[in-house]
């Protein structure tokens, strides 16, 4: 099989991993090197689904021994098996990196033979990049369920970020989609190995939304636990999409809006400091209702408009159209002794008036009906 066919097959097999972040605090030293890590993510292209292409995202092999029912690489699926040699993958990646097509490498794999054997092959690739090619750019290394602790440590020394996919919010839900993975020993324990290995850019994970019958509350409770106990940088949510040839091909596709609502809530929990309990209050049958979660929460919370010159920060960030930055700017204006008197001042600050106005009182006036 020629290299272009491998790029096509293994790139397509790896596209379901959604992480596109490419920043790292690691410093690239010396002049005898190629590449560095950027402070913030740089996108090199956008696909037809609107997603950023920043990393060269690929599997080492798609020939898997696992039985995950949602996955196109699983043992259930008839597929054309493909596998990179470490030297071949390193060459392809460097060819793209030198021409500024990609920002870094995202290396994952199906589990061929055993997690340890597959991980060794992946590590050989990254060692070639760091050693022979003197590559000091970004590498995201996917840890495979059940892999040995020593290999996790080696991966952490060679890579910027590590991750292992949870796929489901708990062991009971995971057992609905696979019989071969143990949630606690194969996945959670590996997350703790990664945590203890201290990769420079931390650890992330991904959950399939709608692959089993999990509720949004289960997913968000898991996310809260992961951020608190495991210390994850990010949890990614991937809406389930049935794949032909898998046992779940007849299952309904999960609407992308559900994924978007989970990201909205995740962002508000992490960046706004809003606790999960407040989102429980707006849930219907343990799921977030259709529409914007913040709007639902605001309608539930505010029975009268807020005075923009009196409301504390915690109330302001709960108003749709006002985020942490705008709320801080409002407080900064008030702290300087000024009062906000006009809509145009809020607009200048960055408040999205169309969303915020129904909940605010500006200069004594307010919109008489909530939107």
């Amino acid at each position: 099989m020629d290299t272009l066919d491998k790029v096509r097959l293994l790139g397509a097999a790896g596209k379901w991993d959604t992480c596109a972040s490419s920043s790292s605090p690691r410093k690239s030293v010396g002049l005898d090197r190629v590449g560095n890590v950027a402070k913030g993510g740089i996108c090199h292209s956008f696909t037809e689904d609107g997603r950023c292409v920043s990393l060269f995202k690929t599997l080492m092999t798609n020939d898997c021994v696992m039985d995950c029912k949602y996955c196109s690489n699983s043992i259930h699926c008839g597929k054309t098996p493909a596998e990179y040699e470490p030297g071949e993958l390193a060459r392809v990646f460097m060819h793209l990196y030198m021409r500024n097509y990609v920002e870094g490498l995202f290396l994952s794999s199906a589990i061929c033979k055993s997690p340890d054997a597959t991980t060794e092959s992946m590590l050989d690739t990254v060692r070639l990049l760091r050693g022979a090619y003197l590559f000091q750019g970004y590498v995201h290394f996917k840890i495979l369920p059940g892999v040995d602790r020593s290999l996790v440590k080696q991966a952490s020394e060679l890579s910027d970020r590590l991750s292992i996919n949870l796929e489901a919010p708990n062991g009971s839900r995971l057992s609905e989609v696979t019989d071969m993975k143990d949630y606690n020993s194969d996945i959670i324990r590996r997350q703790k190995y990664i945590r203890d290995a201290l990769p420079p850019s931390g650890q992330t994970t991904q959950l399939v939304v709608g692959g089993s019958d999990e509720t949004d509350l289960e997913i968000l409770e898991t996310a809260v636990w992961e951020y608190g106990k495991i210390g994850l940088k990010r949890v990614y949510y991937s809406a389930f999409s049935p794949v032909v040839g898998t046992p779940l091909e007849g299952k309904d596709r999960t609407p992308v809006d559900r994924e978007k609502r989970l990201y909205n809530v995740d962002f508000m929990m992490r960046k706004y400091g809003i606790r999960l309990n407040e989102f429980r209050d707006i849930m219907v049958d343990y799921n977030l209702p259709p529409g914007d979660p913040k709007m639902h929460m605001a309608k539930n919370r505010f029975d009268s408009p807020l005075d923009v010159n009196e409301a504390p920060y915690e109330e302001l960030v709960r108003v749709p159209g006002i985020g942490p930055l705008s709320a801080k700017r409002i407080l900064a204006v008030r702290d300087s002794g000024c009062r906000i008197k006009k809509r145009s001042e809020l607009h200048s600050i960055g408040v999205v008036l169309k969303r915020a106005e129904p909940f605010l009182s500006i200069g004594g006036g307010f919109q008489s009906r909530l939107a």
Binding site: V7, V34, S336
Partner: protein, 180 residues
């Protein structure tokens, strides 16, 4: 950063300098908001240029073509110099070529990139499979069930889509699929 914007006017800066610091930092005046917007615009333009400029490799030289709206050529050259130390970086814009050598020194040549390469004896390194490799990878990444060409068009300027060889997709694609 705002001063690099093509529409920057020193009068805006003078107006902002006479305003209250708290109001300026909160962007609470039209002038400070305008300055902030210019800053954001230039930063976005630089980010796009860093992401979408494609380079070719010929020996110790990396070269490419750019179309920059704002005065950010030095920043772009510095970015590539940090990324590829040890290489000369030559970026052609119109009838000028800007070159940063391996030591970080910049010179401007009053000729287009093609003539610069010829005059400096740099062989044309364009490999026929270079674009095909990226296009093969690029096409493998789309999840067609999530197709949202409107978002793609919003995020990727037309001029960059040419560099990514996907202009035909933007021209022929339909509206957003809303079948969810």
């Amino acid at each position: 950063m705002a001063a690099r914007h093509r529409d920057f006017d020193d009068r805006i800066l003078q107006a902002v300098l006479s305003q209250d610091d708290a109001l300026v930092s909160a962007c609470a005046t039209p002038e400070s908001r305008s300055l902030h917007n210019m800053h954001s615009c230039v930063s976005r333009s630089l980010c796009k240029a860093e992401g979408f400029t494609r380079l070719e490799v010929s020996g110790n030289t990396l070269y490419g073509r750019v179309e920059l709206e704002h005065d950010i050529m030095d920043l772009l050259l510095s970015h590539f110099h940090r990324r590829y130390p040890g290489y000369d970086v030559a970026l052609g814009q119109g009838n000028e070529t800007f070159v940063m050598d391996a030591y970080g020194r910049v010179r401007v040549c009053k000729c287009g990139i093609d003539r610069y390469l010829i005059e400096n004896g740099i062989p044309n390194a364009a490999e026929p499979d270079s674009d095909q490799l990226f296009e093969t990878y690029y096409l493998s990444q789309c999840i067609k069930e999530r197709r949202n060409v409107g978002l793609m068009r919003k995020m990727m300027p037309r001029k960059h889509s040419r560099l990514n060889h996907i202009e035909h997709m933007l021209n022929n694609a339909g509206a957003r699929i809303t079948d969810f």
